[in-house]
């Protein structure tokens, strides 16, 4: 067992454990904090996949913006009258658990019949040039999706402002 494998197993265990706490924690702020741990672990997994750029983007976008927005939203919508206590899950949570488990088994079963399941790590041609390649392809080959993504972000920005606009009287 190499150092990379141990690192992957640690990161994966941390992510999955934190993710389980995200979906079961009774306190929503705790859930958001565990979400941060899970997202950080995913960033570590990206580093293991030689995608350091994505690891940092993950920290910027998910931890710096999305997780903080979640905490903010939880703080803003906290019930004062003690409705916060008690379970945050439906009483029929075991159906959801069963469904998720079945899906998990199904995915793994289908994947295991695929011949590329156990592909070994191929060598990277030029590790240093990855980011500039990505940048160039984003403004040449993938220009249309890139522009669409920016339009989507602007639309989301305007939509979010409009939806949460408190009309004065």
């Amino acid at each position: 067992m190499g150092a990379m494998q141990i690192l992957f197993l640690l990161a994966a265990a941390a992510v999955l454990g934190a993710a389980i706490l995200v979906v079961t924690s009774r306190n929503l702020v705790h859930a958001a904090l565990w979400l941060i741990v899970a997202l950080f672990g995913v960033a570590v997994v990206y580093v293991l996949l030689n995608a350091g750029f994505f690891a940092i983007v993950q920290v910027v976008i998910y931890i710096g913006a999305i997780a903080i927005l979640f905490i903010f939203a939880v703080m803003l919508t906290r019930q004062i009258g003690g409705k916060d206590g008690g379970s945050q899950n439906h009483s029929t949570w075991w159906v959801a658990a069963l469904l998720s488990l079945l899906l998990m088994v199904g995915i793994v079963w289908i994947l295991s019949t695929w011949q590329g399941f156990a592909t070994e790590l191929p060598a990277l041609a030029n590790e240093k040039e990855l980011i500039s390649e990505l940048g160039k392809s984003l403004v040449s080959t993938y220009l249309l999706p890139f522009e669409l993504a920016s339009v989507l972000l602007v639309a989301a920005l305007i939509g979010a402002i409009y939806v949460s606009w408190e009309k004065s009287r």
């Binding site: 992957f8 859930a31 990206y46 983007v57 439906h90 793994v108 191929p122 984003l138």
Partner: protein, 102 residues
Amino acid sequence: MIPLSWYLVFAAALFCIGLFGVLSRKNAIAILMGIELMLNAVNVNLIAFWRYRTPDTIAGQAFAIMVFAVAAAEVAVGLALIIAVYRRRNTVVADEIDLMKW
């Protein structure tokens, strides 16, 4: 070295945990958290496939960037909606937002 299967199983597990959150949570914000977990699992898959199957093309990474953008947009609009609903109905529990339910 780590074979591709580890990443795929890991992503599948993360996706299913997110799905569990979406299906079983009462609070709309918590449902959004589950969706975030699912999007992250998708991203791990995309980057793992890029790294293991097509390390010479850039498509997987470009796709992952789109997923990041979509995730950011989704959270911004979703949380704005939830807060707007909270202002009017004073609840964030998804089952209680049933004005359109017949």
